[in-house]
Symmetry: D2
Subunit: 138 residues, 4 copies
């Protein structure tokens, strides 16, 4: 992705310094959104779809949260770090809940295993970004 390049080109980041923690979180959010959308779609193709309703709903909720957090974090310039931090913390909670649910189906469904992996990575990236935003004001 062009995420690093876009961060480096930000006219407000003096000397092109980049906050790797925030940048990684942006990448993780877009990655997690795609994995969740894909897992929901794959769940719909499973014979046991009737038992995957909660997984599909959490996939869609998590995808929506990530699809809002990635852009907000990309648009961080001059924004209120406290607001973005709150959104990132909320996104982390949704990623955690979706990962917990997908892990329950990981042995049976490869797409749930992969989605859980992407959700855990995004959860960690959001947790780290929240700390960074809280400490430095981004």
């Amino acid at each position: 992705m062009h995420v690093r390049a876009t961060f480096l080109s930000d006219p407000h980041l003096a000397s092109g310094a980049v906050n790797d923690t925030l940048m990684h979180c942006v990448e993780a959010c877009f990655d997690c959104a795609q994995a969740c959308i894909s897992c929901a779609d794959a769940c719909l193709s499973e014979e046991g779809v009737a038992g995957l309703g909660r997984c599909i709903r959490l996939n869609l909720d998590c995808a929506d949260a990530c699809a809002a957090t990635g852009p907000m974090l990309t648009r961080r310039t001059h924004a209120s770090p406290a607001l973005i931090q709150r959104m990132v913390e909320t996104c982390a909670e949704l990623c955690r809940a979706c990962a917990d649910e997908c892990e329950r189906h990981a042995e049976e469904h490869e797409h749930c295993r992969i989605c859980a992996e992407a959700c855990r990575a995004c959860e960690r990236a959001c947790d780290a970004a929240a700390v960074s935003l809280g400490a430095t004001g981004a």
Copy 2:
């Protein structure tokens, strides 16, 4: 909008009972997202756009939060009320911040006055929805 009809048609709402507070919040989120997108676009047409950067960014952040919250609240069936509550509370914070900023430009720009109105309405709807989700588990 068809929001009420969609809530009434939910097979999991016994006797078609509808939580008016949540339903109103869904409507307010979609309304606020549109108002914020429109305000950002109108700000870009103003001679003083250079001084409206913070307003435009908050418009876009608020629109993204509302565009994630409306669907999540629509998808409430079997979802975790605590997670949705957290998202609704976060959305309320973004609506409040955007309303605060737009109100600063309300006298000068009609679109900011209207956007602030939509953001305040959504902030109140989200606050009420958060209480409802916390109390009843929706």
Copy 3:
């Protein structure tokens, strides 16, 4: 919704003239997106969910198209009418396909009947907006 007010506040619409056709399409897109998201969620709660996979996928596709078209049409100022027209025409096709599918389940599922209604209304609104954009350049 505040759609009319936001259109009236656009500094580039001299004398506050409003293109009712485009305004109605914006409202229809946000309404249809919500109805589709709700129908997909309700389908997931049905015993016969295994037979509703195509309906759910079209619900989600249509919701995504509407969620992109509503904002684009809201942001029409100075934009290229031909590009917005193309998006509106594409959205109409997705609304038509989703309505066709939902109508197949309308007798059995009230949420499909309501979603089909919202999709048809959005299809018509998009068709009218496409004509308006093509004729006047919006």
Copy 4:
């Protein structure tokens, strides 16, 4: 990103065969959406923002189209290839228009140069995906 893994885990892709053209398009759409959102934000920080209104609007339009196309293409299973093809072709047009505009500012603004690069890559990926969808029905 986990795109390849999510495609490989699709229970409907016999023998795990993956359509690399569609997979690459999904990656390009998410990448382009992020680059466009970032370019719009960076444009808002430029002294010459008053002259970048068209660029910002096309950034936002292109981001919305990509944010709808990536998920639709991820959800392709059992979907109508003709509908997805239409969306991909529309997305290609928006990427082309945004790239054309960003290239006009590429020498002056690095973020426009990078965004134009991401838009061209997505335009090509969408053109290739459209051919693939038209030929094979995906």
